[in-house]
Symmetry: C2
Subunit: 122 residues, 2 copies
DNA sequence: AGTAGTGTATTAGATCTCTATTACACTATA
DNA sequence: TATAGTGTAATAGAGATCTAATACACTACT
């Protein structure tokens, strides 16, 4: 996995877990890979994985069971809002950046659409 | 100015300058505020400002004149591509994050549109 | 009981970012 | 020529992140 050098790795791993849950790769109640395996897969130190996971445990997205593993929560309330929360965070950041360039909301959409169209061609 | 604690300040200042140029606040050939004034305005150390500006000078977006100040380039080729470059970088990052959640391009647009609609109401 | 697999915790050191401080170089102008 | 305004450079120290290494606690299974 390739990380953005400008953002803490532990934070990017946190997002990675979010993405795996939202995409359905990690399902409700399912055990996620062990710490040491994640560390190898993502070529990162165990402590860095642990830092990311501990934040997700605090957020009650993951449930930790000593000796057993880490599991995706079965709380439907939390899982139900997850995708919308992550999406809103993404769009909010984008909006702020584009608004700082004096770009109107309507232009934001058309410009994004243009980007996607161009991407599709290639 | 409020900074995102997860991204280096010097990098965010670099983006800030880009935004000021693209929005038209800083025009071609125009002198930008002195280092020490930017440091006060953005409540950041002079060295941090300097680091951001030095990258922009290397990118030939700014031209430095010792004793006089820093000026926006008059190079139309560079200025002409600036907005598209920054936009593409923003969209590319968004695309990667959303694609990691198994979100299709068409849904990206509608979800973004929904975000903007919701934002308009408030 | 023993062993492997798991999560948790602590320490030390490297690197990066940011601040604070000081000094220097050049320009413009009184 | 003096002075204020500017960019440039270098050093030292604080804090955050990441790595490496080690140890400990709990679970499952033989």
């Amino acid at each position: 996995m390739q990380f953005d050098a400008k953002v803490p790795i532990y934070y990017q791993i946190k997002q990675y877990i979010y993405h795996e849950i939202i995409s359905g790769h990690f399902k409700a109640g399912q055990k996620i890979p062990p710490l040491r395996q994640l560390a190898v897969t993502l070529t990162v130190n165990v402590n860095t994985i642990q830092r990311a996971l501990s934040e997700l445990i605090t957020a009650k997205v993951l449930v930790s069971q000593r000796g057993k593993g880490n599991f995706v929560t079965t709380d439907d309330v939390i899982l139900g809002h997850l995708k919308q929360q992550v999406l809103t965070a993404e769009f909010s950041e984008l909006y702020d950046h584009l608004a700082a360039m004096n770009i109107a909301p309507a232009e934001m959409v058309t410009a994004f659409q243009s980007y996607l169209d161009q991407r599709k061609e290639a």
